[in-house]
Subunit: 279 residues, 2 copies
């Protein structure tokens, strides 16, 4: 598993670095970014927060816009940001922003023409952590967070792998993709019309099926233009209440769907994850 | 002076907003961005830090990447970011990134074809503050800061208007533009070959000519690829020492020219300005 360093910059006493590698899971060249806090050395491996971005994003949006490094450096947490889909000229795509490249939805596609490359679920849960743990001074202790489509990814991946992740948080997540246009379009394309497969990638459905002990924090702006049609946090809250699962959803007055919202509360999310990562 | 709101987003309890307006100084439509801290209301006008960005930037780079709002909100400081040049199809331009649109160098051009629009010095020191003070809950108390070409702008504008600005700070500024390729190319185009005019826009020359009481803080990364050829902080230090002017230049080991560097030290710059703005 060779990785190639393509950029590095010192930030907040630590390092932001980008790498490319050949992904066996996705059958294409992928890029990811990692922030290493100043405390990360071989003799002191640090825990990792995986960040999953939203539609149209790459590994760069969060790293450039979230303002997360000051607090992550203080807390001694590494952050890894993968891309949001497989990439490349040979990778199937769609002309719209909400399907294909930049819109992998963190699932394993079973349908043509997507099934050859679109296995972001396996990439994020298996291949990427193996690469990170083999190449950087990090421990196997990890949590996961994300925004919008990446919030959906963080919630579903956390709920399905609660032994692997200590905690999950999300900004403005797609909480019930089976019941919103973004999710229905993507699931229909990637998974076909077998609804049982859809349920496996729907955080509200997963919380309906079984109780969860995974600590989950969700922040949602009430001025978010996607709130009512696409995001549906009320479905997540109702599903969590069924089995008293550990889900806190906070409505934040006046905030929209942008990275300005993420920058406003990222310190609180890092503090939340640190309580579990640094135990 | 009509201004048109083109975006707004709540951030860190305050607001980030963008506006366009017809600039009489620049003879074109301009866009600027303002961050208003939560404490800014008509009955509590807040001081303003003007931020000048570097080559190729617009009003957006600092606002999206610097991570400045948390601390600015705590300190009760507004931040205003203008564009880096006049803009538009009718505005003279050059095919290279370091001349023309995106490269106004914060001066008043006297040469064709630049002199019709390129008056960024007057725009930043006169027209823009008038617009800001007429339209927002801010006081006339102000400081100025910037990065690279914008660091040159902040230093020269501060030094030439030390009654108007309480303090100046810069990241990786072009300290001695008469002696570097970026500055020589721009000054030759915008000002012609009269060196006396060049001196008025060179921070090191201004500090040679007369002592300064203006508090100035400069941070410079020692891994900055532009350091030796373009930035020349040693000239600024030598000029400040001539008359014991109040200039602190800090070399920061390992940091480069990027916004990751700015994000690492912006809190310290805001604290520096707050000492003078909130007196």
């Amino acid at each position: 598993m060779t990785i190639n360093n393509v950029s590095q910059a010192k930030v907040c006493g630590g390092w932001h670095k980008q790498y490319t590698h050949e992904s066996a899971t996705l059958n294409c060249t992928m890029r990811f970014a990692i922030f290493l806090p100043p405390s990360a050395v071989k003799s002191n491996p640090v825990p990792v927060l995986y960040w999953l971005s939203g539609l149209t994003c790459s590994d760069e949006n969060f790293m450039q816009k979230a303002g997360a490094f000051r607090r992550a450096a203080e807390l001694g947490i590494a952050i890894v940001a993968p891309d949001t889909s497989p990439r490349g000229e040979e990778v199937a795509d769609d002309e719209n922003y909400d399907l294909g490249q930049g819109a992998g939805f963190y699932l394993n596609a079973t349908q043509e023409p997507w099934s050859r490359h679109y296995h972001m679920y396996d990439y994020v849960t298996k291949e990427l952590p193996e690469i990170i743990e083999a190449n950087f001074p990090v421990s196997q202790v990890k949590s996961i967070a994300g925004h919008s489509m990446g919030g959906h990814g963080a919630l579903t991946i956390g709920l399905k792998n609660s032994q692997q992740y200590r905690s999950t948080s999300a900004f403005s997540p797609i909480c019930n993709p089976m019941q919103c246009p973004w999710g229905q379009k993507a699931f229909n394309a990637y998974l076909g019309n077998e609804f049982e497969a859809w349920r496996e990638y729907d955080a509200s459905e997963l919380l309906k099926q079984a109780p969860s002990e995974l600590p989950i924090l969700v922040d949602q702006g009430d001025a978010d233009g996607f709130l009512a049609e696409q995001l549906k946090p009320e479905a997540l809250v109702a599903a969590a209440q069924l089995h008293q699962s550990k889900v806190e959803v906070r409505m934040q007055p006046g905030y929209d769907h942008s990275y300005f919202f993420i920058a406003s509360f990222i310190d609180q999310h890092l503090d939340f994850h640190a309580r579990y990562l640094n135990q």
